[in-house]
Every structure is written in C-alpha cells, then in structure tokens.
Subunit: 216 residues, 2 copies
Amino acid sequence: MRQPIAQGRTQKLDSKRHASAQEILDAAATAFSERGYAATSIDDVADVLGCTKGRIYHYFRTKGDLFIGIHLQALEWALEAVGPTAERADLGPEEKLREMVHRHAMHLMNRASYMGPAQYQIEMNLASEGRNKDEQMARILKMRRQFEAYYATVVEEGIAAGAFRGTDANILVKAVLGTINWMHVWFRPGGPQDSTVERERTAAELAEFAVRGVVA
Amino acid sequence: MRQPIAQGRTQKLDSKRHASAQEILDAAATAFSERGYAATSIDDVADVLGCTKGRIYHYFRTKGDLFIGIHLQALEWALEAVGPTAERADLGPEEKLREMVHRHAMHLMNRASYMGPAQYQIEMNLASEGRNKDEQMARILKMRRQFEAYYATVVEEGIAAGAFRGTDANILVKAVLGTINWMHVWFRPGGPQDSTVERERTAAELAEFAVRGVVA
DNA sequence: CCCTATCATACTACCACGTAGGTTTTTTGG
DNA sequence: CCAAAAAACCTACGTGGTAGTATGATAGGG
C-alpha cells in the first residue's frame, strides 16, 4: 500500500514523478471541463493520455483525488494571480480593483480547463462522496475564502475611502466575482478571434465594467 | 407503448396527469440542484417524492427527458420574466435594463431549484447522451438565444442612443448576464436573512451594479 | 362490473470504479 | 558493467450501483 502524492503538493517530489502527475492532471482537467466530472470516466482520461487506467491509479487513489488535485492547482494559481496585487499599498481602491479583475480574468482564460470545473462543481460532486475527504475540502474552502477575502478587502477599503458606493459590500463582491467567473460559460479557448491581444481587451473590458459598477 | 408527455407542453393534458408530472419535475429540480444531474439517481428523485421509480418512468421516458423538462420550464419562466419588459417602448435603455435585471434576478431567486441546473449543465450532460434529443436541444438553444437577444438588443439600443458606453456590446452582455447568473452559486433559498424584501433589495443592488457598468 | 390510468415490485443489462497481480523500464549498489 | 530492486505502467477482472423494463396490483370512473 503505497502512499500516492497529490495531497502534499509542497512536498519535494521526484521531478519525473511530478511531471507525470501533472500531465495526468492536465488531461483530467481537459476532459472534465468538456464533459463534466461525473460524465467523464477514468478511462476517458486515460484515452486522452493514450495510456490505460493503471497509470492514473498509480498516481491518484480515487477519481475524487484527481478532482481535488485540479482544484488545488487552480486555486493556487488564482491566488498567485490576484494576491500580490491585492496586497499592494501603492494603489488606490479603484486601480487596485481594476488590476485584480484584469489579472483574474486573464488567469481564467489562460487556465480555462482547470478553472472551469473548479468553480461550481465542487460542492455537489464532493459532498456526495465519502467523508474521508474532509481535510482536503477544508483546505479548498480555506483557499476560496482567502480568495474572496482579497476582493472583500479592496471593496471595503474603497467604501471606507468614499471611492466606492457605500451600499452592501457583500453583494458588490458577489457581483464582481460573477462578472468574471461567468466567463467559463461563454469563453472558449481556441475559439474564433482568440488571441493574446483579444484576451487582454476582454479582460480590460470586464475590469472597466466591474469598476464602474462599484465606484461612487 | 404509450407516449409520455413533457415534450409537447402545450398539449391539452388531463389536469390530474399534468399536476403529477409537475410534481415530479419539482422534485427532480430540487434533487438535481442539490447533488447535480449525473450524481442524482432516479431513485433519489423518487425518494424525494416518497414513491418509486415506476411513477417517474410512467411520465418520462428517460432521465434526460426529465432534465429537458426542467430546462424548458426554467427557460419559459425566464422569458416570461424579462420578455415583456424588453419589449416595452416607453422605457429608455437605462431604465429598461435596470428593470430587466431586476426581474431576472428575482426570477432566479424564486425559482432557484429550476434555474440552478438549467444554466450551465446542459451542454455537458446532454452532449454525451444519444443524439435522439437533437430536436429538444434545438428548442432549448433557440430559447436561450432569444433570452440573450433581449439583453443584446437593449444594450445595442443604449449604445446607439449614446446612453451606454460604446465599446463591445457582446462583452457587456456577457458581463451583465454573469452578474445575475452567478447568483445560483452563492444564493441559497431559505438561508439566513432570506425574505421577500431582502430579495428585492438584492435584485435592486445587482441591477444598479449592472446599469452602472454599462452607462456612459 | 370492467377498463384504464397509475403506481409498486422484481428483474436485467451494463457501465465504470477500483484492485490484483504481471510485465517492462529505470534506478541503485556492488 | 551487471544483477537486483524499485518504480512505472499494463491487463484482466470483481463488484456495486443505476438506468430502464416487464409484470403485477390497485383504485377510481363510466
């Protein structure tokens, strides 16, 4: 009974092993984002890789672990994308929020396969699985709250400074998050007119929309 | 081989029969919105009703038909919610958009169990099923396009009239839709401080956010 | 009293997760 | 450089759960 990885992401891993696991995660993220978690079989993921189930189960104990691995990776990236900006002290609320939204949107487009499944499927899918994943769930929820706190903080700062409308900070945060997160429904990587500059333009457009929605 | 209902919604149905089918749809919507389509078994739906599978399969041929029935119902209601407002000629773009968003948000909260599954799960779930549902899919997609067209029209009118920012109408529409549709992720009916007035306040808040996001 | 809509029970077929070993490739140690 | 061990991966199943069916029971209307 070996102890697979993918829980302790920070552990030092043999780089070969880590690369193979990452390749599996990529394939799973792609498959899940296309057909959904429950409708995707492990064999489907293996087909994407051109291998068999054996390889996948060598790295991940269960299908749920695969999903959790994708989630942790996506959230890690998301926190990296907006965290540094959120903690900058040299920006006013308006510019800080604009930059955060812009980076968040770019991250969503650049890592679409990971972020798509990550956003909403978690509660339903993992709530029904056995409760032996409570620890992982707690870690994911913690990262989620951290991420949302970045936005809550800048909105509250803006309200306190009189830069943002002083209504309900909580709903404003949900509105901003919805503006961005809804992208995974309509944005398709590799679609027509998809390019780096186009993504930048889209991100800037959404950032402008969100900022205008909250400014006083 | 009887011909079950739920495809021809406009047919005259025995009211008893229709009531029973509607009850089943309600239960299925609730179950799907909680655990997701694929993770919910027909027996789960039957348990919610306190009956057995027999009753469900007497009204719906397959599990997919159940899902489609929920979808059609949700879209029908959604079109009823915003359509009349979208076609009013006595409102300027700004007030029309505000009213549409408000009604849309109220609809989402009042029919949360139907709208939750309806929003995004369709492509993944039905794309993987057999292609004998193309007709139903086409009907659903048509209603979706109709719904989105309501928003596109008002946004384009606003831009043409100089009331809205004349940037990318398409992205603005997606931003507005995201603001509202994302509610199914964070709004929980029956949660703390959930009441009619609170829902009105939430809807008004989101409408204000969306309108400010697009006005010039 | 019969007939039909309605629902329950029991059953089948099948898919997909996870496992138990075997086989190949890579690493290690002498 | 070579055996031996370990890692990486594959093949072939066992097993549980679920969609859908076939048949039987019941209740209400004409």
